[in-house]
Symmetry: C4
Subunit: 291 residues, 4 copies
């Protein structure tokens, strides 16, 4: 369900500002749609430039070209940012909105990089423009889905926090146990390190940079691995068992009443639950439904 | 539910072409079924030859035999391909269909390998003949299931793309953060490398070829691991909680008939399924149902 | 639901054979229950002996004691096996049943080990006696659950096979691609080795004994990792979204009809779906239900 | 659903003991709430001190300060413990309750550490005070959720035990097979070690400290990896297929009212929820619902 479009930043009344607004913020017109597509291409291209520039061999070969491209993109995005601010009626709302901050963060790094070269790695934050891309592509369904995902996360925040707090307690306690059992000579150099190991184990990532060497340590590790994997496997198994049981009740011998047509009777039902009329002979429940 | 068989490529009217068609494309007759089984054996055997030929020790011992077998299979599959093309009424449709392209790819490599030995590894693509196998084995249920799986994926493509785009954004941003925090001296030699590490971490694979060494890096890594594992664990836990809650609501409200004592009535049942007497109002639910 | 006890092997009529049968095969009597508990202790102890005997340091210290214990257990289980065979009416049925074969495998190794010392590792197969333990402990619920799990697996065998065949096709193709892209110099020494790597990656195990070194290889690896993890994450997310949506429909504004008491009306319903009477004013659906 | 507060330890009648009780055990008053918040800060701070003290570099720099802080926290928690014991009517019940034991364990280590310096690592067990924190923060919702989680685990204990016993049987058998196939020269030095490897593999953790080197070993490993991952993937896929099928059945059978055209009626609806007119028979289901 797409929510109705909300006029947050102040759609201008008319003039050149309205023409700019329809192209930049809206995608109803061919110009607006073209603008969006060009912007996506520009964003992906600028991200690719940052990615490529971080690879030593490519940086050695194409440093000048990457630098030029980066300045080109920055100027492009600066012009776009200024255009956005100037064509809405409430520019401050846009500048302080999520997308406004993202736009600003997208161009600041290049200007900062002129003065502080080591901050060049921050330029990739422009990937956040991808969010804008979904919006401008009129794939409001996408944006609606991100908003929906975000709202779902917020709505479940208490369950998530309780769950994570339980996980944190387990990894802190088990990590310290491993710190005591294995000790620094086996890689568990401090409790924070041991907790880091406990997280890699419970989340089943298992880097292997730190591993238990003692028998007790491996026993504790086995327990943690079974807890971490079991947290996924046991509920999945229970849910599947429930569903299979329910399916075997729902489908095979569910009969309809001859008198009133009501369906969904249990196999052993003899009278219609809706009108009381007698049902045909109860079918002996088959043990397995066809998969 | 098996879909009705569709005549896509043009079933011939009669003559030798019809006889070939019934054997090759259909499995209703003993000859057709035998053809299918022999074809499966030939496909599995040819794949095994490629597998074995790639093992250094086996290649050293049996190179000549593998080579001869490979030519034998190629000739066999070439004959089969030509037969398929010649007995349908629309050979071009077959040649451009998925299975037609797979058949062509299955025999081309050997001919190409005569000229370009380094392309010999492509021969395994004949495993795609396995798909054909399901079809010709009249296990149309299997083919129906692959088609069903494919349609399910296509139907959910928007959700999958939105989900994957969210994952990509996280790994790109977190990867670059690790690139900045850990740096090339700890293995994070470029942003693409760091993104590769972020993917191994978030998908809980955790190769361990690259691992964070700094405390901040391990903190970021812990966050990513909890997100990657939590994406599986949190929903599973929520769904299980819902199901358990629903089950505890459903079963206790199952009422017993006042007249005959039969239990297990659905909440909306108005008449006893056993004796037909009218049921009274629902009984108060018990707090926990037996697991 | 416990299935009724089935008399498979032939319950003897009377005499010493019946007394033996009630102790060994049944757990209704104190003697039968004691027999079962002693047997479990014996089985666990014998398994512990095998485990301990495999540890170099313990073997060096206690070899003689372990050897003596092992013979003790073998004699005990031999006596039990002979007793079982002799007290049923159809000993051959027992000998060829699952538990009969397990019992035989449990004692043969020790006799074989006298002649072939390298087969001593097979003794642990006695853990299969644990299955018998569940049975004799009258925890038929457990045995019922293993049987239920087994039947569930058999009932779903087609889905499992289709799923696994799809996984096998992916790992075979992707493994060979990595074999071509990375090559033996990066650890992918043969196609079977590459397929083994592909399985460790897709199942998110990620040993790290073989890892991609080239950029294209890491790209293919990233794809495989996302497929392997996504196969778990995407459906989980979809199911959770469905459940959450359904819960938000079911719970908040579900109203009961004042006239007939029927519940479960959608928020925007104006007339009772059961009797047609007018419902109270439709509540505007709240956007988020309390978690 | 919050359970009503239970007076377990004996709420005092009056006097200074009642005043202490309301501050320490209850959070209805500003003093009680402030007490709780100060206690949480103290607990988190004391845990942070233990964490920091375990890091070699920090210990070298701040050992004296950490020691002083630790004594401060111990004295604080000792005072709190004594206060709790003295203001309830049944101090022994509190001392033997979960939280009472946790409180005692939280202060004992420091006193013990004076006499036994190597036990200093046990001080982190004060994280268990975090549980108390949830309680005293009047976030009884949290405590209710932990209790609910605990009760859910206890209620499902049979299923969990059956499941885990099946997993243990697989890892013990497969571990011993690998011990025989790979042998001590490849890292599988004993059966317990091999079982530890089997657990890391089946839980998809995959540390990589021990890996199979032989072809048969890798084949067995591949089987175990597919079982471990498949236990998560196969049920998830089946459940998703069920839900998708059900959704495709549920939504299309939603009927439209002949009189007013309103859609979205439940299958069992007899009257239009919008206009009250009688509904006709169900419309034929469409093949795919929009995702």
């Amino acid at each position: 369900m797409k929510p109705a479009r909300r006029d947050v930043f102040g759609r201008p009344q008319g003039g050149w500002r309205l023409r700019f607004y329809t192209v930049i913020f809206e995608s109803d017109t061919p110009a607006g749609l073209l603008f969006d597509k060009l912007l996506i291409v520009a964003i992906l291209a600028s991200v690719a430039v940052v990615l490529a520039d971080s690879v030593g061999t490519l940086h050695a070969k194409y440093q000048a070209q990457f630098h030029a491209l980066e300045w080109g993109f920055t100027l492009l995005f600066t012009v776009e940012y200024v255009a956005r601010l100037s064509c809405v009626r409430h520019p401050l709302r846009y500048a302080t909105s999520f997308f406004g901050i993202v736009d600003l963060l997208s161009i600041l790094p290049t200007y900062v990089a002129v003065l502080f070269p080591e901050a060049q790695a921050l330029i990739d934050v422009r990937i956040l423009r991808l969010l804008r891309m979904f919006r401008v592509l009129k794939l409001t369904a996408y944006v609606w889905e991100y908003q929906a995902m975000g709202r779902a996360l917020v709505a479940s925040r208490r369950k998530i926090l309780v769950f994570l707090s339980a996980v944190m307690m387990i990894v802190v306690i088990m990590g310290t146990v491993m710190y005591v059992v294995e000790g620094p000579e086996n890689g568990f150099t401090s409790i924070p390190t041991a907790i880091y190991w406990a997280i890699t184990t419970m989340t089943t990532v298992g880097f292997g940079d730190i591993t238990p060497k003692t028998d007790i340590g491996r026993l504790v590790a086995s327990f943690m691995m079974l807890v971490g994997w079991g947290t996924l496997a046991v509920p999945t198994g229970i849910v599947t068992a429930e569903m299979t049981a329910r399916r075997m009740l729902d489908t095979p011998a569910s009969r309809a009443c001859g008198a009133c047509g009501a369906a969904g009777h249990l196999p052993e039902a003899a009278y219609c639950l809706h009108c009381g009329a007698a049902l045909g002979s109860a079918v002996a429940p088959r043990e397995e439904a066809a998969p």
